[in-house]
């Protein structure tokens, strides 16, 4: 059973909601570690299951954060959809066939960082475009994307590490 993992998962979703509501760094930074959490889900989970988790997670975040229903979902579900492809590309196909969970301790910081970076880039790319809804200039979106990617990736590495550590304790 991975009860501790799921408890930590829910706590981190709650933390994301709190940060979304109260942390207002700048308009150029969107802090989000949900893609890393989706990546940290057990590798054995199928794409459909992960997409469902991403959908529910996104729905909860949207519902409790800004009231823009669908904004997080639209960006998070593609991360879940690409997850297996991303893991196979960064960590190798063997990880998938063995059903071996990925972690910084086991696979190293570089690979973990790369996978989180790509997942976060997918998420932020869609999120920023959908949030701007064609009203903001491309230069603003590009700068927001770059700043958010740097901040979110750094935070996501810690979040991923916490989630994986909780999995080991259980």
């Amino acid at each position: 059973m991975r009860i501790r993992f799921y408890i930590f998962y829910i706590i981190l979703v709650a933390l994301q909601i709190v940060l979304g509501n109260y942390l207002d760094l700048t308009q150029y930074v969107t802090l989000c570690f949900l893609p890393a959490m989706i990546l940290a889900l057990p590798v054995g989970y199928g794409t459909i299951g992960v997409m469902c988790i991403a959908f529910v997670t996104g729905l909860a975040v949207d519902f409790f954060t800004h009231g823009i229903l669908g904004l997080t979902i639209i960006a998070l579900v593609p991360v879940a959809f690409c997850r297996r492809w991303l893991i196979a590309m960064v960590f190798g196909g063997d990880v998938l066939s063995r059903g071996e969970d990925i972690s910084i301790d086991k696979h190293g910081l570089a690979k973990s960082l790369l996978s989180i970076l790509i997942a976060t880039a997918i998420y932020l790319g869609i999120y920023i475009v959908a949030d701007g809804a064609g009203t903001r200039p491309s230069s603003f979106n590009a700068l927001r994307f770059a700043c958010s990617l740097v901040v979110s990736t750094v935070v996501s590495v810690f979040v991923s590490h916490i989630l994986k550590s909780s999995d080991r304790w259980s």
């Binding site: 794409t47 959908f55 823009i68 669908g70 979902i73 579900v77 959809f81 959908a130 064609g134 009203t135």
Partner: protein, 275 residues
């Protein structure tokens, strides 16, 4: 996992992904008017692109029909221009009566078969006796003279093109210049040869060559091409290569032209000859 199962699973994943994204889009458009406008705009753009593609495909497949309609329209306009030109010339020359109007009858036709690679080239058109085509009618197109109808069947007609040594067109250099026979140069699909020009005549490259109207086949003043290179032949006459306006390689739609007075003229000639 077999390849088939993998493919099947991939399709299901993609389908569920699309359903979830559509659900998210619907939620997004229902929550905020800004996102609603954005989604609607994107949707309209997609619709427009799809419609445009569909319209392009439809247009492509109806090109032949459109070309036929344009050829017909072109024919009517060309006939009107000839009538106005005839009236203008008649007025300019002080002639009161308009003798050119109604002298020629035009029938649009499509080329069914055309030879271009032999020395005696021919053309088969999709109009025949049933459409009013008669032997010895001319064949024209927007680029000039194509040839002459040689034989007519019920629904098809056989013509000899200008790319045939048996065909010679009476041509005039400029509107009021020298008249000389124009024949094919025997080499290219867009070159003619203006022959039997007297040595004293000063030829200028770039001068336009028109039909003279001296034959009973073609109406006068149909542009044929421009003079390229004049040259001497045996020191007694000169000839000139003509760059034809029409290229036989790209020919598809033509106009059959019949001189309605040709029988009357032929009858007159016969009477004169017998006397």
């Amino acid at each position: 996992m077999t390849k088939q199962v993998k493919a099947y699973s991939g399709v299901i994943n993609a389908a569920i992904f699309v359903v979830m994204e559509v659900a998210a889009l619907l939620m997004l458009s229902g929550t905020r008017s800004l996102q609603d406008i954005w989604i609607n705009r994107a949707s309209h753009r997609t619709h427009a692109a799809l419609w445009r593609s569909g319209e392009n495909i439809r247009n492509y497949f109806t090109l032949d029909k459109q070309n036929r309609a344009l050829a017909g329209e072109n024919l009517v306009l060309a006939e009107k221009v000839r009538q106005y030109e005839g009236k203008r010339l008649a007025i300019a020359n002080g002639i009161i009566a308009d003798t050119t109007q109604g002298e020629y009858r035009f029938i649009p036709a499509t080329i069914v078969k055309a030879s271009r690679n032999s020395q005696h080239n021919y053309i088969i058109l999709d109009k025949g006796r049933a459409d009013g085509v008669k032997p010895h009618s001319g064949i024209l197109c927007s680029g000039g003279v194509v040839g002459v109808i040689d034989a007519v069947d019920e629904h098809y007609s056989y013509g000899l093109t200008l790319m045939n040594p048996l065909i010679s067109v009476s041509a005039r250099i400029g509107r009021e210049g020298l008249v000389a026979p124009l024949v094919w140069d025997g080499l290219r699909t867009d070159r003619g040869l203006l022959k039997e020009l007297p040595m004293y005549y000063d030829l200028h490259p770039g001068d336009t060559v028109f039909t003279s109207g001296f034959s009973t086949i073609f109406p006068p003043d149909v542009p044929l091409g421009t003079i390229m290179r004049p040259s001497e032949v045996d020191g007694s006459v000169q000839e000139a290569v003509v760059n034809l306006f029409l290229d036989f390689k790209s020919l598809r739609y033509v106009t059959i032209v019949e001189n309605t007075a040709s029988e009357e003229i032929a009858g007159l000639e016969k009477t004169e000859a017998s006397e």
